[in-house]
């Protein structure tokens, strides 16, 4: 029987999760090791975000377990198929986040707080891909960034960094 833990979101929703799944989070792993995790583990993460975090962790856990159970026979083809499956899953996961940037940023902060390096890296790469090749004005529009420079300041920065905008 797998050991289960109960995670409590900031809006008081309970999530029952296998220890192996949730131990990917270094923060929670430490709490468990320190014996601080008796009963419900309260987290500063909303239920909506926590559900997404767990979606990610379960997918990762699934991947690790299958790799451990593999014998060498037929492994290559299986690995290829699995890689395709994971890619497909990740693309779907990315598309959902791109469509709802609020969830994306909640998830970024949660992955930082829960110390999930793989998820944090994945999300940072995703944001970088969204930004790559775009000019400042486009990026500002995409993320509602307010240009808080005065025209004079902007002029000075453009003079300093102007070369970076030349092809």
């Amino acid at each position: 029987m797998a050991i289960m833990y109960a995670l409590k979101s900031s809006d008081n929703e309970i999530f029952e999760v296998e220890q192996k799944v949730i131990e990917q989070s270094e923060t929670i792993k430490k709490m468990i090791e320190d014996g601080a995790a008796t009963g419900e583990i309260p987290l500063q993460v909303s239920s909506k975000t926590l559900a997404k975090v767990l979606e990610w962790c379960k997918q990762r856990q699934h991947k690790t377990v299958e790799n451990e159970n593999d014998d060498n026979k037929g492994k290559r083809k299986k690995e290829r198929d699995e890689d395709d499956d994971i890619k497909e899953w990740e693309n779907k996961f990315s598309d959902e986040l791109k469509a709802d940037k609020d969830v994306l940023f909640d998830l970024l902060l949660a992955s930082n707080y829960l110390d999930l390096p793989a998820l944090l890296s994945f999300l940072c790469q995703l944001v970088a891909d969204m930004v790559a090749g775009k000019m400042p004005e486009e990026i500002r529009r995409m993320f509602n960034i307010e240009n808080d420079f005065t025209p004079e300041e902007e002029k000075a920065i453009t003079a300093e960094h102007g070369w970076a905008f030349q092809p």
């Binding site: 940037k101 609020d102 940023f105 970024l108 902060l109 930082n112 944090l120 890296s121 940072c124 790469q125 944001v127 970088a128 891909d129 930004v131 790559a132 090749g133 000019m135 400042p136 990026i139 500002r140 993320f143 509602n144 960034i145 307010e146 240009n147 808080d148 420079f149 902007e154 920065i157 453009t158 300093e160 960094h161 070369w163 970076a164 905008f165």
Partner: protein
């Protein structure tokens, strides 16, 4: 979608992580987004002055300048190249000074001038 700027509220550590996946030229461009991003750039510890920063066509100038003597007339194009090269070099110097002043330990420094490549990692 509401109109709140969520990305700029991220801790610098996360912004730096995002920036580490961008080309160095674009990292510099992000400093123009807002003051928050300008601050994030000023503490960014990965400095890659590579071919994208020093384009190989500046190399032409370099060879000519070595040959320069009093009789050589610098053509307009070359004078521009010289100005550009000096501007880039002083920009790089200022960037390094800036990190030094803030006592930020640079994680990666790349300098690629023409065909040479110098890499220092800390």
């Amino acid at each position: 979608m509401d109109n709140i700027d969520r990305i700029s509220d991220l801790p610098h550590l996360i912004l730096h992580h995002i920036m580490s996946f961008l080309s160095f030229k674009q990292v510099i461009q992000t400093s123009l987004l807002s003051k928050q991003w300008q601050r994030a750039w000023h503490s960014f510890p990965i400095l890659e002055f590579d071919r994208a920063v020093f384009p190989p066509n500046l190399r032409f100038y370099r060879h000519r300048v070595i040959d320069i003597d009093e009789d050589t007339v610098i053509e307009e194009g070359e004078a521009e190249g010289k100005e550009k090269l000096f501007k880039l070099l002083s920009y790089m110097e200022e960037t390094l000074h800036n990190r030094h002043r803030q006592m930020i330990s640079v994680k990666k420094f790349t300098l690629q001038l023409f065909e040479s490549r110098l890499k220092v990692a800390e």
